[in-house]
Structures are given as C-alpha cells and as structure tokens.
C-alpha cells in the first residue's frame, strides 16, 4: 500500500489515462424472475468521472450492488481492475461512499474515528494505531476541508460535513476508484456545489477514477466526463456535451424531461437560484 500522498506522478497519471477500470459485458440481473438490468454494456476508464443516471426504479441500485458484488448477474461478465467484484473488495482499490448512511446519530465516534475505520479495518489485529496513522487521518480530513472537526461527534455534523468525512474515510484506503451512491442526496445547493468541486479536484490532482450513481441528471452533467442513462438498459453512454438524443432521455426519464446543463464555471448561474 502506498504511504504518501499524493500517490502518483502526473506522468504516471497520464500514462494510465486510458486504462479501463470497470467493464460490464452483456450483464443481465433479475430479482425473482423479473429482469432489472438487461444486456448492460458499460465501461469506465482510469481518471474519468462517470455518472449513471436514471429515475427511481431504473436499476441504478441494482447496478451498484452488482458492481460491488452484493448481487450476482445471471448472465454477463464484470471486471474491475481485471478482477471479479468479490475479489476486488479485498484489494483496497475501491473507496465507497454509501447513500445517506442510516447511522444512528448517537453512534459514539468522532469524525477522526470514522476516517480511521478503513485504515484499521484492514490491519493485522495486533497492530496498533501509529503516529503516522494519526497524521494520515488528519491529512485526509484536511483534504476534504474537515480538519477542524476531527474531534467532533460524527452524529452531530451536518449532512454535507458527514458526506465529506465519509469521503475522507474512503480516501484513507488510498483507493484508485471511488464509487459514490447518490452523493448529493440531503445536500443543499451550496453543499452540492462544493462537493462536486471536491470530486473534480480529486480527479485532477490525484488522478482518481470516480463512478457515481444519481437520479439528478442536471446536477451531475456539468462535472462528469461521461454519462450513462439507465432504465433497465443503457440508453445513452457518452459525453454530456454530446447531444443526448431526446428519445434516449424520454426512454429513461419519461416525456417531460428538459435537460439543463449546469456549468460549474458559469459565474452568473448560481445567482438566480
């Protein structure tokens, strides 16, 4: 495991730019004979931010569960860094951010304790926390702008702050791929904006590959490199700047969808909101 941050040189980042991280080939998943995902072909390359978007019930959660090895496809093949989803879990390559973690607000841990979970969870049991670990936790919290809250009770933080601490926890694993489940749920517009800016900076400075699942196509379209529109099948997989065919949007979201791209670099966009 790499010990220092940042983990890799810009040159190495570029050399890996086209390496395929996730491949799904003709993946079919069903629950009790009901097909939920049909013939999914999908890929994510190193160093890009990809979002899978679709309405509730479109199979996003199933896709994520299948990618994480919690649900087996009945047909097709999935490879993450060349390994099966179950095998890749133990490699420490994946950092995961759960949707709205239903953690008891009384849970007696601090923000720093939460970040330490991924570090200590994979350690040999006799190995204790070192000064280096503590320094690493501080650095991870600093990376997401939460250094000042290290000792704060996790349950008392705001939704956006919790989200950042959980990102720091995922980063503490030193992953190459971040998988985020509906990361914007429960965040207000300002928190959402700064959260997405953080994701972009993680991609740009650390070369992280980021896959997120979201129901909100408008919110993510301004920051992602590629977008996949899912409703049982993938109806579009490309750059958001490519014009997404209106029939693909209709199939995914229904007839009345209007796609408004949010450009993070647009200075005046936020003022009307």
């Amino acid at each position: 495991m790499r010990k220092h941050w940042p983990r890799r040189s810009a040159a190495r980042e570029r050399s890996m730019a086209n390496e395929t991280v996730i491949v799904l080939e003709d993946v079919w998943v069903r629950y009790a004979d009901q097909p939920v995902l049909e013939g999914i072909h999908f890929s994510v390359s190193e160093g890009e931010i990809v979002s899978v978007v679709g309405p509730n019930g479109s199979g996003k959660t199933t896709l994520l569960n299948t990618l994480l090895g919690f649900k087996q496809p009945f047909r097709g093949r999935i490879r993450i860094y060349g390994k099966s989803p179950e095998a890749v879990r133990h490699s420490g390559l994946i950092g995961y951010l759960p949707q709205n973690p239903e953690t008891d607000t009384r849970f007696p841990v601090s923000a720093a304790d939460v970040v330490s979970m991924t570090i200590r969870g994979r350690r040999p049991v006799f190995q204790r926390m070192t000064r280096e670990d503590r320094e690493r936790i501080r650095r991870m919290l600093g990376r997401v702008g939460m250094e000042g809250q290290a000792g704060h009770h996790f349950g008392s933080l705001s939704g956006g702050q919790k989200q950042r601490v959980l990102i720091a926890r995922a980063l503490a694993l030193d992953p190459r791929l971040l998988i985020l489940d509906e990361p914007s749920t429960g965040l207000d517009a300002v928190a959402q904006d700064s959260f997405y800016a953080l994701l972009q900076s993680l991609r740009d400075t650390e070369g992280l590959t980021i896959l997120m699942v979201s129901h909100d196509i408008g919110a993510v379209s301004g920051i992602v490199d590629r977008i996949a529109c899912l409703n049982r099948r993938i109806h579009f997989h490309g750059r958001p700047s490519d014009n997404i065919p209106s029939e693909a949007l209709e199939k995914v979201f229904g007839r009345d969808v209007q796609l408004v791209f949010h450009d993070r670099h647009c200075d005046t966009c936020g003022e009307d909101a």
Binding site: L68, S91, G95, Y96, P101, F107, P108, M117, G121, R123
Partner: protein, 268 residues
C-alpha cells in the same frame, strides 16, 4: 456482608456476576448499535427448547442448550444476511417455534420435576463451579476477541456495507459475534433466567450511551454499570429475600431511567 460471602453459592454467584459484567458490558454495545436487541430475547427463548431437548434425550441440558441457541442465532443471521427475511420476522418465527418445541419436548419426556421457574427467571442457588468455569472460559475468548477486533467490529457496526466493500470480512465477523451472543446468553441463564436476560443485552450500552459520545468511554461505563447492577441486585435480593434475577433487572432498569432523566435535563 461477611456472612453472605461465607456461603459458597453466594461466592459463586458473585464471581459469576463479575464475569458476566465484562461479557454483557461489551456485547451490549454491538447488539444495541446494530439494533439487534430483539435477537437477544429470541436466542434466550430458544434456550428453553434447548434445555427441554437435553432432558428429553437424557443428555446434559447445558450442552444441548448451547448447541440449540448457537444454531438458532447463526441460522437467523444467515437468513437475514442472504436477504431472505428481516431480523424481526426471523426472530418472531424462531421465538415461537423454539418455545413450542420446548413445551413438546417436556411433555414427551414426561419431565414433570423439571425446574421450569428456575430456567425462566433464574436460580442463584443453582450456580455451580462448572457454570463458573464455563463463564470464565467464554470470558477468556470473548474479551480478547472484542479488544483485538474492535476496529473491525466498530466499522461493521457503524456501516456494514462499506465495511464489506472496504475489505472487512463482515460475514465471518458477524457469525462469530452471533455465536458469542448465544453462548453468553446461555451461561447467564442460571442467574437471570430466559425471560429476563434480554435486559442484560440492552441495558448496559443504553446506560453507557447516556454518558459519553466516545466509544472508548461508553464500553467501560457499560461494564461498570453491569457490575453495579448485578452485584447490587444480588445484595438487595438477599436483604429483601426476593428473587435475584428479577431484583437485578429491576435495579438496572430503575438506574437507567434515573440516569436518563438526569442526562435529559437541559443544560443550564
């Protein structure tokens, strides 16, 4: 006090209580935070079926109960993990099933002299040296298990799914915890009984959580609370000549509510 300590059964029971304080004080945290308190009640009631099975087959009821309760806890755990049923449904089914089996076994075995009340509500006079050795053996295994695996247990308890994705072997850890839950409940039945043991599963951590937002303090407070509740309850039961198990549980619950009211008062 010296009069009490001169009695062999009381010394056994006191030592047993101190061992159980360590066990329940630590176990309670993981069960309460994972919202599995009802599982404690379910597994405890399965013990009734286990005891009756031992009597029917003419084998040591302690061994049959351990096997029976561990099986029930692990089977419920596996069914829930595989997404087949939810905890409350699984426990609800096994609760009734194992009690019914117990009643059937007793009837079939014609074991009319069986001390039913002792098993249901505890019988402090029944604590033998063998029970003590068993409880000590469980402590020797469980306490180091918690201390060594604390970071993993904490991660699993906090967020099972992310723990699994991050490389924690959640399935194994969960099964081990369920086996310990079952065995700890079985060894404690002599003192508090099947019906009352769920209080020992829930009260320690609930009390500890009133006093701290740091698990490093919650765990020792839970252990200390359990020790006070058990030894205090036993002393009180001697003074009042009341059943020990019931006195322990009433004392613990009253202490919890007093602490709850004090801690719930707005800070001035």
């Amino acid at each position: 006090m010296s009069e009490l300590l001169s009695m062999q059964f009381f010394r056994n029971a006191l030592l047993m209580s101190l061992l159980l304080s360590g066990l329940f004080g630590l176990l309670s945290f993981f069960i309460v935070m994972r919202r599995m308190a009802f599982l404690g009640a379910g597994v405890a009631h399965a013990a009734f079926g286990g005891v009756a099975l031992g009597i029917l087959l003419g084998i040591d009821p302690f061994l049959s109960t351990v096997i029976f309760c561990v099986t029930v806890a692990v089977v419920i755990g596996k069914l829930v993990r595989n997404g087949r049923i939810t905890y409350d449904t699984g426990i609800g089914i096994f609760f009734g099933f194992t009690m019914a089996l117990g009643a059937l076994f007793i009837a079939l075995g014609k074991a009319y002299t069986f001390d039913l009340s002792g098993y249901l509500f505890g019988n402090i006079l029944g604590v033998t040296s063998r029970d003590l050795i068993w409880t000590a053996a469980v402590s020797v295994l469980f306490i180091p298990f918690v201390l060594l695996f604390l970071p993993r247990l904490l991660f699993m308890t906090f967020d099972e799914r992310t723990a699994e994705v991050s490389g924690v072997r959640v399935g194994r850890l969960d099964t081990l915890l369920l086996i310990f839950l079952a065995v700890i409940i079985v060894v404690s039945i002599k003192i508090v009984g099947i019906v009352l043991v769920s209080a020992l599963v829930v009260l320690p951590a609930s009390f500890g959580l009133l006093f701290s937002r740091d698990y490093r303090r919650v765990l020792p407070v839970s252990v200390a609370f359990t020790a006070v509740m058990m030894t205090g309850g036993m002393g009180l039961s001697y003074a009042l000549d009341s059943p020990a198990g019931a006195t322990i549980v009433v004392l613990g619950t009253v202490c919890y509510f007093v602490a709850f009211l004090i801690r719930a008062r707005p800070a001035s």
